[in-house]
């Protein structure tokens, strides 16, 4: 059974893909709420060393946001694509705003923003990946799409294959190469 809420999200997603920007406004807080729930899970997990628990939380979060399994949508593949794009958009925005905030958006004495600065900034990873993915799209749009579906959309290989109407084996091979390319693009640069 599909829940009214996930149906609601489905409709918002479609509205967004049709160009309704207000839909994005409404979807963003939902993703953020899930983010905080997950963050909380991580903090608990870190303290107690339960990683399994957080994996379950992640699955649950995607399920709650975008109820893949239960979507009876005539064009499931299209839906996957839209959802992944949307997640990318929202999460990159999220990462940017945090990253910007950290690098001193405001410059008054001891600001909360400064206080937030930490050594390892994983939100930067998302921004960098988003940029690299744009470069990848120029030479190989399909690999870029695979990464978007898997990384941003949280799809499994099977689901990605379904969305792209491609054999799983092919998806796996292409994913491997895309990951290597992106890794070289991002980490390789750091080393030089």
């Amino acid at each position: 059974m599909t829940t009214p809420s996930s149906q609601g999200i489905t409709q918002l997603l479609l509205a967004w893909s049709d160009g309704d920007q207000a839909a994005l406004e409404k979807l963003t807080p939902l993703v953020y709420a899930e983010l905080r729930r997950l963050a909380k899970g991580y903090m608990r997990g870190e303290r107690h060393g339960h990683t399994l628990q957080t994996t379950a939380l992640i699955n649950e979060a995607y399920l709650r946001l975008i109820d893949w399994k239960n979507v009876r949508w005539q064009n499931r593949a299209h839906f996957f694509g839209v959802a992944a794009q949307l997640m990318r958009r929202i999460l990159v925005d999220f990462a940017r705003s945090r990253h910007y905030a950290r690098r001193g958006g405001g410059a008054q004495q001891v600001s909360l923003d400064e206080a937030l600065t930490i050594h390892e900034d994983r939100s930067a990873e998302i921004i960098a990946l988003d940029d690299a993915l744009k470069s990848l799209a120029e030479i190989d749009p399909r690999k870029s799409q695979i990464v978007e579906l898997k990384f941003f959309g949280g799809l499994t290989v099977e689901e990605t294959a379904e969305a792209l109407k491609t054999p799983q084996r092919t998806v796996e091979r292409e994913w491997n190469l895309a990951r290597a390319w992106l890794y070289r693009e991002l980490r390789g640069k750091d080393e030089h």
């Binding site: 809420s5 609601g8 979807l27 807080p29 963050a39 979060a61 990318r88 999460l91 958006g105 890794y183």
Partner: protein
């Protein structure tokens, strides 16, 4: 790089990738055939693949995971130890859907507080923030003991935060994780929440998000409702319209409203789900859900998905409470059902109405409980008959005890209860000196504690007399004189107490005249004492409270002790304040310790403690002389001392028996442990109180057989109750020979 070249690279990469590492070099040599750039490209990608595979984080997690970890990392490591504005952040208290909450110190006022940072996505829109601030400021103006106090709503750069009272306790949610609450606890919590809602609703503020996460249980028993008005911030965001001006009452399409799944719909009223304009009655419904959940352990409208929950709220009747708990009073079920009426016209129309019904039920149940207890263990009422109250004693002031004796026994007083002030049988002990000094110093709190019949009330009466002689105003409230309805609720108790005080001090303003139903009872009481008693009397006030152990069994007892403690604390903070002139003398029996299993519940940890010691051998010898020396010589005094130890009541009772009945010591010893003997009443009572706790009875049996106490706790309880003496669980013995003989006879 052009597409064709990329295809070439990809083809070669995949072909190489499928080969074993050992074959790869030779394969590439051949395939690249001198195109070194192609070879470098493929090799570097293969190397990157190896590294990426091993790299824990890189693309092996989803973006949502990475973002959440970034958030978690920030939260865990960031703010603690930092200074935000003038606040020093001490630790993270929690993370919720509405942001992160930290414990912080305000160095300016030297107090701890909670800082709640609002998530930025809720505060980007300036107008929305403006509306929120208006709401929150209105809520922060609420002054009620069950509503969290907001100190400040502010921002630093574009981060908004709320500075609020720090509540040392746990959320109701966490409490419920330990299982459903007993009816009395559920009523206690819901009464306080309803009281908070009544206050807010009267000010035109609805909470909109009543749920166990928003109800804090403070360690001292106070319940505090959090986040008034905050729900509106989310709501207006998710509906995309300012809900405060929304005139639209047509049902909102839940299906297209994702705001609904922020948090949980479990506590939402049908009208909230339908997106209608909501009012105070939505809070009543939510409180009904919480009340049901506290007792049942499950919410009334349940489901695996939000959709199922919503469907249940809109269409289903909750399972009867009897499915979860036995013996739910019909009245309780009726209250819950009325709060949960789907049609809000059928619900309580005001939180105040629900509050009254909840309070009445609580009162009835407490009363029934009391009756049950007294039916089982009647001794307290016998005790009342035996014990003249301090007031009786005081009223006879200043009758001295020098009247000439008409016959040999005319000057003998009944033994038991308070001794007349001039009694020649009153033996001064160390506690008398300490008490006198405390009264002279005008200490804020003096505690007189001891087992039954060791002379607490007599000591209290003497201290008060001394204070009166020194020019102080003296009030005495004996809680034994309150009836059950006075003890049914904090409100009734405080009113009764204020009434007694008003009577004795002849105050002009009656408590009811200034009692404000919108304030909490303890606030009312405090204001009354401060304004009408301390404010109108210039002399120091000494207030004696006797038989305080009656409060130990009341649900609100800890609240009362908390209030007294706060006066003591305020006095040390502000030596020129009103409490400076108040000395409270609190007397209670430590027998109660037999039934307080949690020793940390000790009602007081402040003030000057007086412990009534047993008489020493020489004090018993002194007493013997005052009775005309029925004990013939030192050796008889020694024998008698072993029999009753220095127990103040037993020592006097035995001597009086010898005088009145002309018995010698041997005759007294022969009947000492008999139920119809002179000590029979006293002995029966101690066994009766011990009988109420079979486990403790077993411990007592063990001790009588010469075993140590199995736990320090049981040792402490038995010693506090005055049954056993000793220095530790390993060194424990009956308090006197008489107890040993009687207990052996009755228990073994």
């Amino acid at each position: 790089m052009n597409t064709e070249r990329w295809r070439q690279i990809e083809g070669l990469y995949q072909a190489t990738w499928e080969r074993d590492a050992a074959e790869r070099a030779a394969f590439l040599d051949e395939a690249c055939a001198g195109d070194e750039e192609l070879r470098r490209e493929v090799e570097s990608l293969l190397a990157a693949d190896e590294q990426a595979k091993e790299s824990e984080g890189f693309l092996n997690q989803t973006a949502l995971q990475v973002a959440a970890q970034a958030l978690a990392g920030d939260t865990a490591r960031s703010l603690v130890g930092r200074k935000i504005g003038r606040y020093q952040i001490l630790s993270l208290l929690g993370i919720g859907g509405m942001g992160e909450v930290y414990l912080a110190q305000d160095p300016r006022l030297g107090r701890k507080l909670a800082l709640k940072f609002l998530p930025q996505e809720f505060t980007r829109d300036r107008r929305r923030v403006q509306r929120f601030k208006q709401e929150a400021r209105a809520a922060s103006a609420l002054n009620h003991p069950n509503i969290i106090t907001i100190f400040e709503i502010d921002q630093i750069n574009d981060v908004h935060f709320i500075a609020a009272e720090f509540i040392d306790g746990q959320t109701l949610r966490r409490r419920l994780k330990c299982g459903a609450a007993p009816l009395s606890e559920a009523l206690d919590v819901s009464v306080q929440v309803a009281s908070a809602l009544a206050e807010a609703h009267a000010a035109g503020i609805a909470h909109r998000d009543i749920k166990p996460e928003n109800v804090m249980l403070r360690c001292d028993g106070y319940v505090k409702v959090l986040d008034f008005g905050l729900a509106k911030l989310i709501e207006s965001l998710s509906t995309g319209q300012p809900s405060s001006n929304s005139e639209d009452s047509s049902p909102r399409d839940f299906h297209s409203d994702p705001g609904m799944i922020i948090g949980t719909p479990r506590y939402m009223s049908p009208e909230q789900i339908r997106g209608m304009q909501i009012d105070a009655r939505a809070d009543i419904f939510s409180l009904g859900v919480v009340l049901y959940e506290m007792v049942a352990g499950w919410t009334p409208f349940d489901g695996v998905t939000a959709g199922e929950v919503v469907a249940a709220i809109l269409n289903h009747e909750p399972p009867p409470l009897e499915h979860y708990v036995r013996d739910v009073p019909a009245e309780f079920t009726r209250i819950v059902r009325k709060a949960l009426a789907r049609d809000r016209e059928q619900r309580y129309q005001a939180a105040k109405d629900m509050l009254i019904e909840l309070k009445n039920l609580k009162l009835e149940l407490d009363l029934a409980d009391k009756l049950k207890q007294t039916g089982q263990a009647a001794p307290r009422h016998e005790a009342v008959d035996l014990q003249p109250t301090v007031e009786n004693v005081m009223s006879k002031l200043p009758r001295s005890y020098s009247a000439p004796a008409a016959d040999a026994h005319a000057d003998l007083e009944p033994v038991g209860g308070a001794m007349p002030l001039g009694s020649k049988y009153y033996i001064l002990r160390g506690a008398d000196d300490e008490f006198r000094a405390a009264i002279a110093r005008q200490d804020s709190v003096v505690l007189i504690k001891g087992a039954r019949q060791v002379g607490k009330t007599s000591l209290l009466a003497r201290g008060l007399q001394q204070a009166r002689a020194a020019g102080a105003k003296v009030v005495l409230t004996d809680l034994q004189k309150l009836n059950a309805s006075d003890l049914a609720s904090a409100e009734a108790f405080y009113l009764a107490l204020a009434g007694l005080i008003a009577d004795q001090l002849d105050l002009d303003v009656a408590p009811d005249a200034v009692w404000n139903a919108r304030r909490g009872p303890s606030i009312n009481f405090e204001r009354y004492i401060r304004r009408e008693a301390l404010g109108k009397i210039s002399a120091p006030l000494v207030w004696g409270i006797d038989e305080v152990d009656r409060l130990f069994t009341c649900g609100f007892g800890s609240e009362v002790f908390g209030l007294f403690r706060s006066w003591h604390n305020e006095r040390s903070l502000d030596p020129a304040g009103p409490w400076e002139r108040l000395t409270m003398v609190i007397a209670y029996a430590t027998e109660a310790h037999l039934f307080i299993t949690d020793m940390n519940q000790s009602p007081f940890n402040v003030g000057t403690r007086l412990t009534l010691e047993d008489f020493t051998l020489s004090q018993v010898a002194d007493l013997n002389e005052r009775y005309g020396s029925p004990l013939k010589d030192d050796s008889e005094v020694g024998r008698y001392y072993r029999l009753v130890s220095g127990h103040p009541y037993l020592a006097r009772r035995g001597l009086q028996e010898m005088v009145v009945r002309s018995r010698d010591l041997t005759a007294l010893e022969a009947i000492a442990d008999r139920d119809d003997g002179p000590f029979g009443d006293h002995l029966r009572r101690i066994v009766a109180s011990l009988d109420q706790d079979p486990a403790l009875c077993d411990v007592a049996r063990g001790i009588l057989r010469g075993q140590p106490c199995p736990t320090e706790e049981s040792f402490y309880r038995l010693r506090s109750a005055g049954l056993f003496a000793g220095a530790s669980a390993r060194d424990v013995r009956p308090r006197c020979q008489l107890y040993a003989t009687y207990l052996e006879k009755r228990l073994l």
